[in-house]
Structure formats: C-alpha cells, structure tokens
Symmetry: C2
Subunit: 223 residues, 2 copies
C-alpha cells in the first residue's frame, strides 16, 4: 500500500498556522495530501477554499471530510447551531463557549485512518506553544497521548509530527513569510463573515502575530 515511504498528510484548515505547516512540509519533505474538515463551524466555508487553493498551488491532492454530525450532536458556539461568538482575547473565560469537544482528537483520528489508507507514514499538525489553554485538545499532553494512540493503532505506526510545537504564533508567521506565503489567502475569524471581524479571539491573535513578527498584515478587518 505505501505510495511513498516518507510521505505525510497535513491537516490544513485554511487558517494561517496550518497553511504555513503545509508549505513547510512541502518545502522540507513529501506531502501526500492536505485534508480539511467541515465540522459545521461558522467559518469553515471561508477557510476551506483557501486550504484547497494552497494545495492546488503546490500541486497536491486535497480532501475535505464532511462531519455533519458535529453540528447536530455537539454543543459549541463555534458551530452554526451555537450562539454568538464572543469578542476579546482567548484567555478570557467567555471563549470557553467556543470549544468544540475533542475536535482535534476527532480530526486527528480520521486523518490517521486516511493516512494509513493512502499509504502515508505520518500526519502533520500545526499545533504550537501558544495554543490555547482553554482548549484541552490543543495542549501537548493531549498531543503526546494522541500520537501514541495513532502509532499503536495503525499498521504502519503512523507518526504525529508537530513541527511548530516549540514555537509561538508569530514565529510561524515569520516562517510563512520566509516561504513566500500570501497570507491574504488565509482565513481565521470565528464569526465567518466576508471580512475578518477584528475583535474575536482568533482575530486578536492573528493581528498580534503579524505585529510581533514585524510583518505587514494583509488582512482587511471590519474593525
């Protein structure tokens, strides 16, 4: 089954971190495919076309996995079935209502099965050191346990690569600039509007990352 003995499948949402992870993986190794998940969030329809476009630019296979059940069975304000997205920084307790329970666990598990089916030997995820304390399935103790579960649970002992795990979001932005990525072709806002709102937790972090990396922010914010 293995098509390439050292190929990776990249989880790419279309946000800035995962788009950098995709280009970084393509620049430093072999990418078998990029995979996006439509889990019924308010912003999936804005970000996934960018994920697809970056894969196309790199000549890579792209798959979108539709997880319609999440919007029906799960409770979160991030989902179309949920309430309004709060404004303010991620650290604030109000952002807890945007947690989609075990979202990264679900996406990684499906990507692991797809990777094994497609003949890849690893997954790549853009987890980083600044990933949010309010999201338990973004933290390294989760990632390390999930990596072990994926290795144990697959024939090819699929590895979970986290190239940015020791970096901050601004470091990833800098790496993206180095790779020549056009960040206007990425989307972050949890509200899912045509323009980034500029005030929700993820817009706040996006602005900060460009600023701390001393990069021009190409994003047009509503405010």
């Amino acid at each position: 089954m293995p098509a390439d003995t050292a190929a990776t499948v990249v989880l790419v949402s279309g946000g800035m971190d995962s788009v950098v992870a995709l280009h970084h993986a393509a620049a430093t190794g072999t990418v078998l495919a990029g995979v996006s998940f439509d889990y019924g969030s308010k912003h999936n329809h804005r970000e996934i076309p960018f994920a697809k476009a970056h894969c196309a630019d790199l000549g890579l296979r792209h798959e979108t996995v539709s997880l319609g059940f999440m919007d029906q069975l799960f409770t979160s304000d991030l989902l179309k079935s949920g309430g309004e997205i709060p404004d303010g920084h991620y650290e604030e307790l109000s952002m807890k209502q945007t947690v989609v329970p075990f979202r990264n666990g679900i996406m990684l598990a499906i990507a692991a099965g797809f990777a094994e089916s497609a003949g890849a030997t690893s997954l790549t995820i853009a987890a980083h050191s600044g990933d949010h304390a309010i999201y338990p399935d973004c933290r390294e103790p989760f990632m390390a346990a999930m990596a072990s579960a994926i290795t144990e649970g697959t024939y090819e002992k699929i590895a979970l690569l986290r190239p940015f795990i020791d970096q901050r979001k601004e470091d990833i932005a800098a790496r993206g600039a180095e790779l020549g990525i056009d960040f206007s072709k990425t989307y972050s806002c949890y509200k899912g509007g045509e323009l980034h709102c500029g005030t929700c937790g993820t817009c706040t972090e996006r602005k900060e990352a460009f600023s701390l990396a001393r990069l021009v922010d190409p994003t047009t914010y509503a405010c």
Copy 2:
C-alpha cells in the same frame, strides 16, 4: 452541562459484545446514551437496528453517527466499496484486508466529543482479551493510549471504560445470558446478508463463543 455526574456513553454496534456491554453498563450504573457508527460497512445496516432496539428496550437515548467519508476515502474489504469478505478464522492473514484503518480510534474520538457535549463522564467499549491481533486498534496498548488522549483532551477528563478487557468472548456471552439478553437480536456477519453466513471470521468467532460458553446459539446460519 453535566446531566449526570457518573453517566456513561456506550459504543454499541449491534454485535453481541457491545450489546452485552450496553446491558451490563445499564445494570451496574447509569447510561446516558448508546451510540452507533455507520461507516459504510457491508453489515452496518443489519446491526445498527439491533443497537437501536436494545437502547429502546432499556429506555435509553440512541444516536447513529453517519461517517459517509470512510467508504469514499478509506480502503478495506469490510466497506461497501471494498472487495469480497474472506472466509476462515480471524487469525488468517487474509482477514487483514477487512481492517478499516484506525476505525476504533475514529469511533472513540467522536464518542468522546459527544460524551463531553452530552454531559457524560465516561465512555464504555466492549474491547476484550480475544480482540484480534490483526487489528492494531483493538489491542490494549492502543486502548490505553487512547484512554489517556481522551482524558487529556476533554474538560471533564472523560474516562474510557473497558469492563471486558480481561475477559474472553465466551465470558461476555455468558454475562449476556446472565443478563437475559436475546442474542437472536444481535448481528455479527461481515458479509451483511439476511442470514449470518456462518463461514467468515466474525461468524466463526460467534459460533465458538456460544459453544465455549455452553449456550444455545439462537443464530440461523446460511451454512
């Protein structure tokens, strides 16, 4: 969010082991719901109605999660898109073609997110000591790592319960008989016919379990 501080969500396919796990969990604690997965296998349409019926008999909520992407993106003879199901015992190498990559990882991850959304504190799976060496995501090293990933990745530190992990399939059958379960209302055959084929790996194990437990096998086999 928590509806019951010690409630479990049971993964129930409609096969004999998981139906016993459902009744066992209901007899020894509080079950919040049973959850089944339609992942596009040849036999899902035969087994899931039994899962639903057992939940209804116990007055429990039942959810079926539809995973249509697996039949499209994954390679396995267990799936409708795959080749023919081989005959013979599980141990035989030919059964490897029925592996659905990381299937248990995917089902457990989704069930974990659902459990956290619904306010449960644990998941219950009918993994047992005889689970197949050919399926890496049935073995205890996988289950232990996945349990850790689920605990680390959820707010409520959801536990993964494996009440039958030290038991054999015939012990589970005996426990089911003790609980008064009508095993004619369970389905195992990987071929998905109206009658159990009686010759595939899972039919072979089903027959053996009843025989070893000295129980009358109520199943009508094609041969």
